[in-house]
C-alpha cells in the first residue's frame, strides 16, 4: 500500500526512458528493417537479400569504408602518441608554459568544426603561397583529423597524471631505472586507462567527422587519384539530392551490428574486470 505511489513512479520512469530510446533509435531501426527490401520507406516490404549483395559489389562503398577505417586508425595512433607525450611533458613543464599550452589545448575543443576546417585551409593555402604549392592530400586530411582528436587524448590522459603519485617515478629512478625505463614501466601502466580512452575517443571523433574531412581532403589512399571519400563525404554527396540509397541500408545494418558487438564485449570485459577486482580486494584484506 505504502509503496504503491513509488511503484507508479518507477513504471512512469521506465516508460519515459524506453519511449525516448525507441524514438532515438527509430530512424536507424526503420532503415535496418527496410534493408531487406528494395522498396522505398513506407511501402510494403518484400523480403530480399539484394541490398546486401549490392553492398558487396559496390566498389565505391568499399573504398569509402576502407578509407574511413584507415584514416581513423592512423589518426588515433598518432593522436594518442602526440597527446600522451604532450600531457606528460606539459605536466612537468614550468607553470607559465603549462598554462599557455592548456589554454591552447582548449581552443580546438570549443572551436566549431567549420572554423577548424576553414582555418586549416587558409593556412595550407598561405603556406602554399610561401613555400610553393601545398597540395591537399591525405596528409592535410590527417592534419585536420589530428587537430580534432589530439586535445581529447590530452584531456583524458591529464587526470590520470594528476592522480599519479610523483614519488613512484622518483623511487624508480632511485632504484636504478633509467628515465626511459621509469616512464615506460612506472608512469605508462598507471596512465594506461586514460591513454586507452583517449584512443577510443580519437577513433570515434575521426569516424564521425564530416566538415573537416570535406575541406581538408585531397587525392590519396584507396581513392587513388580522386579525392578521398570517407563514409561521411560519400553519403553526404548522395543525400543532398536523393533519399538514402538501398545498399546503404545494408551498410547501416553492419555498422549497427559492429557497434553492438564492440560495445557489448567492452561492457562484458568491464564487468569481468570489476568482479575480479572485487575478489582480489576481498582476498587481500
Amino acid at each position: 500500500m505504502v509503496n504503491k505511489a513509488s511503484l507508479w513512479k518507477r513504471i512512469l520512469a521506465q516508460c519515459y526512458i524506453w519511449i525516448l530510446l525507441l524514438l532515438m533509435y527509430l530512424p536507424v531501426l526503420v532503415l535496418i528493417i527496410y534493408s531487406f527490401s528494395t522498396a522505398s520507406l513506407g511501402q510494403p516490404i518484400e523480403f530480399t537479400w539484394e541490398n546486401y549483395a549490392n553492398l558487396f559489389k559496390s566498389r565505391e562503398i568499399q573504398i569509402a569504408v576502407g578509407n574511413t577505417l584507415i584514416l581513423a586508425l592512423v589518426t588515433a595512433v598518432l593522436a594518442t602518441i602526440i597527446g600522451t607525450l604532450g600531457a606528460i611533458g606539459v605536466y612537468e613543464s614550468r607553470p607559465w608554459i603549462k598554462k599557455t599550452l592548456e589554454f591552447t589545448t582548449q581552443v580546438p575543443v570549443v572551436n566549431p568544426e567549420i572554423v577548424i576546417a576553414l582555418s586549416l585551409i587558409v593556412m595550407f593555402v598561405f603556406l602554399g603561397g610561401i613555400f610553393g604549392g601545398v597540395k591537399l592530400s591525405f596528409w592535410t586530411l590527417l592534419a585536420g583529423h589530428l587537430v580534432l582528436t589530439v586535445p581529447f587524448v590530452y584531456l583524458s590522459v591529464k587526470p590520470k597524471l594528476m592522480q599519479l603519485d610523483p614519488a613512484l617515478y622518483e623511487a624508480a629512478l632511485d632504484l636504478g631505472c633509467t628515465p626511459r625505463q621509469a616512464l615506460w614501466k612506472v608512469t605508462f601502466p598507471e596512465i594506461l586507462p586514460g591513454i586507452l580512452s583517449g584512443f577510443l575517443m580519437a577513433v570515434t571523433l575521426s569516424l564521425d567527422d564530416f566538415i573537416v574531412t570535406a575541406f581538408t581532403r585531397g587525392p590519396g589512399l584507396l581513392s587513388g587519384t580522386s579525392s578521398i571519400q570517407t563514409i561521411s563525404t560519400y553519403v553526404e554527396g548522395i543525400i543532398k539530392r536523393h533519399p538514402l540509397p538501398t545498399d546503404l541500408r545494408a551498410l547501416t545494418t553492419f555498422i549497427f551490428l559492429a557497434v553492438v558487438i564492440l560495445v557489448g564485449s567492452f561492457m562484458a570485459y568491464q564487468n569481468i574486470k570489476a568482479r575480479n577486482g572485487k575478489r582480489r580486494k576481498g582476498r587481500k584484506y
Partner: protein, 293 residues
C-alpha cells in the same frame, strides 16, 4: 678516516641532484612536439583567420595587394541577410537547447538512480547512436520524416529541429547524468523534511546542485547547433541557412574575408559564453562524451 668518508659522501647527493634535474628536463622535452603541433595547426591558422577578417585583397595593375580593411566587418553589419542568419542561428540554437534540456533532464535523473540503472546499460544505450555515422543517421531521419509527411520542403523548421534534437540529445544527457550521479540526496530529503514543497525542493535544491551539468549541456548543444552544416542543410532541404552554412557558402564562393569575419564572430560568441560560465565548476571530461569510458 673521517676526512675520507666525508670526501666520499658529498658526490652522491650532488650527482643525484644533477641527474634528477636532467631527468626533469627530459620529461619536459616531451611537450615540445605537442607545442609545435598546437602552434602550427591551431594558433597560426586562427591568427590567419583574424588576418583575413580584417584585410582585403585588390588587384592593382595586375598585382595582388593585400591591405588592412574593415570591409568584411562592414559587409556583415550592413547586410540584412547576414543579420537574419545570425538571428535564425541563435533562435535555432536556443530552441534546440531548451528542448534537449527538457527531454534529457528527467531521463538523466532516472538514469542516475542506482536501483533503476544498476549496470549502466541504459546510459550506454543512450550514447550508442553516437557511434553510428551521423551523416547516415541524418539521412535516415530525413527519409523517415518524409515518410511521415514532415518533409523539409513543407516543414523546414520542424524537420530541422527534430534532426538537431535527435543528434544532440545524447550530448545533453551525458553531462547531466554525470552531475546527477553526484547529487546529494540527503540535502534533498532535508529540504523536504524542513517543509519545502516538491516544487521548491526541485527549484531551490535539485536545480542548483545540477547547475554545472546544465551549463555544460548547454555549451555542448548551443554552439554546435549554430555552426552545424549537414543537419540543417539536409533536413530543411537547404531552406534554412545557419551560421555554419553561411561560412561554408562564403568560402566556397571564394569570399574568404567575409567568411573569416563570420568565423571570428563565432569565436567571439564562444569566448563570451566561456567567460560567462567559467565560474561554474564543470567536469572538463564531461564534454563531447569524455565521461563515457
Amino acid at each position: 678516516m673521517s676526512s675520507t668518508s666525508e670526501a666520499a659522501l658529498p658526490p652522491t647527493p650532488a650527482k643525484e641532484k644533477k641527474t634528477k634535474r636532467f631527468f626533469g628536463l627530459k620529461r619536459r622535452y616531451l611537450a615540445i612536439p605537442y607545442a609545435l603541433f598546437l602552434v602550427l595547426f591551431v594558433v597560426i591558422p586562427l591568427l590567419l583567420i583574424v588576418g583575413y577578417a580584417f584585410s582585403e585583397t585588390n588587384v592593382v595593375n595586375g598585382v595582388k595587394v593585400t591591405s588592412f580593411s574593415f570591409a568584411a566587418a562592414a559587409s556583415f553589419f550592413t547586410s540584412a541577410s547576414k543579420w537574419s542568419v545570425l538571428f535564425v542561428s541563435l533562435f535555432t540554437g536556443v530552441q534546440t537547447t531548451i528542448i534537449c534540456l527538457l527531454l534529457a533532464y528527467p531521463a538523466a535523473y532516472f538514469l542516475a538512480e542506482k536501483k533503476f540503472n544498476a549496470n549502466k546499460i541504459l546510459v550506454i544505450l543512450f550514447i550508442m547512436p553516437m557511434w553510428i555515422n551521423f551523416v547516415i543517421r541524418t539521412g535516415a531521419t530525413r527519409d523517415l520524416l518524409n515518410w511521415m509527411g514532415l518533409s523539409g520542403s513543407t516543414h523546414p523548421w520542424g524537420a530541422t529541429l527534430i534532426g538537431m534534437v535527435y543528434n544532440y540529445l545524447p550530448f545533453t544527457i551525458l553531462p547531466l547524468y554525470t552531475t546527477m550521479l553526484k547529487l546529494d540526496h540527503s540535502q534533498v530529503e532535508a529540504a523536504a523534511d524542513l517543509g519545502a514543497n516538491p516544487w521548491h525542493v526541485f527549484w531551490r535544491n535539485v536545480i542548483p546542485q545540477t547547475l554545472p551539468g546544465i551549463v555544460s549541456a548547454c555549451e555542448m548543444v548551443f554552439m554546435p547547433v549554430m555552426s552545424s552544416y549537414v543537419i540543417s542543410d539536409t533536413l530543411s532541404e537547404s531552406k534554412i541557412t545557419l551560421f555554419g552554412n553561411y561560412i561554408y557558402l562564403d568560402f566556397s564562393n571564394s569570399l574568404w574575408n567575409e567568411g573569416s569575419f563570420m568565423a571570428l564572430l563565432m569565436l567571439v560568441i564562444i569566448g563570451i559564453t566561456m567567460l560567462l560560465t567559467r565560474n561554474i565548476e564543470k567536469d572538463p571530461t564531461g564534454s563531447r562524451g569524455g565521461g563515457l569510458w
